[in-house]
């Protein structure tokens, strides 16, 4: 069976205006919103029900997290640039921007690693109190999402890029879908940062 059988892989559906993959990613992100929404609701319920809740900044390292926020936002920018380069048929620049996206996301994880080890070093484990439990659960799950993004982006940078030769439209669509996911991961962090570190 060839691609010709399934419609709207490369070109948007005339009525809905999106390709299959784009609609699929949006639906997937809707379910992710429900996942993180449930965890944020958990945070609210546990916090409202507790007698005393620590200031985030008294336990966590705010400057480091601010740096991390900057890193992640920059990686979102380079992701957009990568897709825009494909739109302008500049495959070499796509490679450059995609590689910087992956490097920046690795940077995010490395900074997170330093943060975690510092916590463990001070004997602050998830089992210590509910604040740390929710902190490690939420940032850990977000970290897993970052790793997933790195995997997808690396695939699109090296083996997946072969599709550019045979079907540039479909490849651009894939990069766009990965970009949507990546912005979502970024957005989750933008919510996590004030909720855990500043409030």
């Amino acid at each position: 069976m060839s691609n010709s059988l399934i419609h709207h892989i490369e070109d948007p559906h005339p009525v809905t205006g999106v390709t299959n993959s784009k609609l699929g990613v949006w639906l997937f992100l809707a379910s992710e919103v429900m996942l993180f929404g449930a965890l944020f609701s958990t945070y609210i319920i546990l916090r409202v029900g507790s007698l005393n809740w620590p200031e985030g900044s008294s336990i966590l390292n705010v400057p480091l997290a601010t740096l991390n926020t900057m890193v992640l936002i920059s990686s979102s920018v380079t992701m957009v640039m990568a897709w825009a380069s494909l739109m302008m048929n500049r495959f070499d620049r796509y490679r450059l921007f995609m590689a910087s996206t992956i490097l920046l996301s690795f940077g995010f994880l490395i900074i997170k690693y330093f943060e975690y080890t510092a916590k463990f070093h001070h004997g602050l484990f998830p089992s210590k109190n509910t604040f740390l439990a929710i902190y490690f659960t939420l940032t850990g799950l977000h970290g897993l999402h970052v790793m997933g993004g790195i995997l997808v982006n690396t695939y699109l940078l090296f083996p997946g890029a072969a599709l550019w030769k045979s079907n540039p439209k479909q490849f651009a669509g894939r990069v766009e879908a990965a970009g949507l996911y990546w912005h979502f991961v970024d957005l989750v962090w933008i919510f996590l940062f004030p909720v855990l570190y500043l409030l």
């Binding site: 069976m1 809905t16 299959n20 546990l46 089992s127 509910t130």
Partner: protein
């Protein structure tokens, strides 16, 4: 996306690791049927203990290990894990894969005139995630301490301090949730993007609408349970206490936990999934029953837009009723009021759907085929199941009925005589399309009457027991004086259940015997109008010989002035 599917592919690629939606649908369906039977066997074991508490199980009692059934007598822990796994397997590994994965995968692309699902490889991934989840669930029986034994709802704090089986259960659930997430994305994209030319949304068969709403429920309701599962895994593995309150005392010893958690939080997250989940169980069944009733009454559906609107409203409302499972948790009366009102409101669309189906029968020239028997039986059974839910949806009467056998009777009536009869109807109805042969009528009718009578024999006494106050999840029902007079009903239910098990063997025999020996079926054996009957039998890869074009609504039966009493959608 997907590759060439000619005959040059190997046997494994064409049958086991296929990306064709029909093969995946069959895989889902067969695996689901096997799991249904397995979950049923667990229940039959439990029924022995309920009928004859403390007596050794004859014949097969010696096959179990000393840690579960010493001398053939069932230990309470084993009984509890059987109960928990029966619920989990029936709901998450049996009915949902069969109804959504099996029927949905096989029929939705055919009914919308698509060559395949939108993401064939994702479809295969979804099945294999489900398979892995099933295997993980089965292995949990063999870990030390046995399978999960905190009930299928896994309420903490009990589940947080339960044996290893609970952890394995959570891992299995994560795999199953992944599977349903991938599947639901696939269904929605397929239905939105890949409809044939001329097939507008209001020309879709109701079955497709039901799958559409179901997919949205799966997509949006499952993630909160995944979140809850992650939190419970943290509780069990990392020593956190999301669900463990401070000062928890277990067997007279205070637990060494940090405390500050909230056990009710799990119930909120769990029921936020599990209430939409019960509509996931019932909506595909309604879709199947609608197709069969309309086909066999030879007249259009009474109120097509009404039934579609009702199913959409049902899906929307199902997100707003979850706390009616939690009236006994000490919620405030204001919250209770809100959830009572929404529960009463959600009964309206269910009644509308049922009414539409009953009115469709009015004045039809009904053909009493085997699928029609099952579909007709669905209506009163679902009505009993639904109406007995009303006393549970009102907080005042729920105080008496909560966690008694009445609850078990209520939801089993919806799922077993309701959904399962509909699923069997679907198997009998679409078997000719899948295999090219009819299933045997006589065996089918014996199977129907046996199932119908025995299902009622199993579940109706539960209402009596529940109103009398018999508690659910009780290893020894004769423990309490008020329940000792009910032992007769327990024995009656157990015999009904075992006879029901024997009757299901007829279905298995019929299923396999008809593959080779069944009566040959034409391409459109029931003279139905929807698109899946316009394909060759069995449908080839790519489904349609030429791209179908739809010119009319889904149920054009007995149109005045026409020669035939049906007009297919693509004519």
């Amino acid at each position: 996306m997907s590759e060439d599917h000619g005959e040059h592919l190997g046997f494994l690629r064409r049958t086991v690791f296929s990306v064709d939606h029909k093969v995946i649908g069959l895989q889902y369906g067969l695996t689901g049927l096997v799991f249904l039977f397995f979950g049923f066997c667990l229940m039959m074991l439990m029924r022995w203990q309920l009928a004859y508490p403390g007596e050794p199980l004859p014949w097969i009692g010696g096959l179990f290990s000393e840690t579960t059934m010493p001398g053939g007598m069932m230990l309470p822990e084993f009984y509890n894990s059987l109960g928990a796994m029966h619920g989990t397997i029936m709901v998450f590994l049996g009915v949902v894969p069969l109804a959504v994965g099996g029927f949905g995968n096989y029929l939705v692309p055919l009914q919308i005139g698509a060559p395949d699902m939108a993401f064939p490889k994702l479809n295969a991934a979804s099945y294999w995630c489900y398979f892995v989840g099933g295997v993980v669930m089965l292995t949990s029986f063999f870990v030390p301490g046995g399978a999960a034994n905190s009930g299928w709802t896994s309420y903490p704090p009990l589940s947080d301090i339960a044996t290893t089986g609970q952890t394995v259960w959570l891992f299995g659930m994560v795999a199953l949730i992944t599977s349903s997430l991938l599947g639901s994305v696939n269904f929605i994209v397929t239905i939105v993007q890949l409809r044939a030319k001329g097939l507008t949304f209001f020309r879709l068969p109701f079955f497709v609408w039901a799958q559409f709403v179901t997919s949205f429920l799966l997509l949006l309701a499952f993630p909160p349970l995944e979140a809850a599962g992650v939190l419970q895994l943290m509780d069990r593995l990392a020593g956190t206490s999301f669900f463990l309150p401070s000062g928890l005392v277990v067997s007279g010893m205070p637990l060494p936990v940090s405390g500050g958690g909230n056990p009710i939080l799990w119930q909120h997250l769990f029921w936020f999934l599990a209430h939409p989940e019960v509509y996931v169980l019932i909506l595909p069944a309604m879709g199947i029953v609608t197709e069969i009733i309309v086909t066999n009454t030879r007249k259009p559906l009474y109120g097509y837009k009404t039934i579609v609107g009702a199913s959409l409203f049902l899906g929307f409302m199902s997100f707003l009723v979850w706390a009616h499972h939690m009236f006994m948790t000490g919620m405030g009366t204001a919250i209770s009021n809100f959830f009572q009102v929404t529960t009463m409101i959600i009964s309206i669309p269910s009644v509308i759907i049922l009414t539409v189906l009953v009115l469709t029968l009015w004045g039809g020239s009904i053909r009493y085929t085997v699928p029609m028997h099952f579909a007709l039986a669905f209506l009163p059974m679902f009505a009993i199941g639904g109406l007995t839910g009303l006393p549970l949806g009102l907080a005042a009467s729920d105080i008496h009925l909560h966690d008694t056998y009445y609850v078990i009777g209520h939801f089993h009536y919806v799922v077993a005589p309701g959904t399962l009869l509909a699923l069997f109807a679907g198997v009998y109805h679409w078997y000719p399309k899948v295999t090219g042969r009819f299933m045997n009528e006589t065996l089918g009718k014996i199977h129907f009457w046996g199932s119908f009578l025995c299902l009622n024999g199993v579940f109706f006494p539960m209402f009596i027991q529940g109103i009398a106050g018999a508690s659910r999840r009780l290893h020894t029902p004769t423990m309490y004086a008020h329940a000792q007079g009910l032992q007769g009903t327990n024995v009656f239910m157990s015999y009904s259940a075992w006879i029901l098990g024997l009757v299901q063997l007829l279905f298995v025999i019929n299923f396999f015997w008809s593959l080779k020996k069944g009566r040959q079926a034409p391409e459109n054996p029931w003279q139905a109008t929807t698109l899946e009957w316009a394909t060759p039998t069995p449908p080839p890869h790519g489904n349609f010989l030429k791209e179908p074009e739809v010119n009319r609504g889904p149920y054009e039966y007995s149109v005045p002035g026409e020669k035939e009493d049906f007009i297919p959608q693509n004519v």
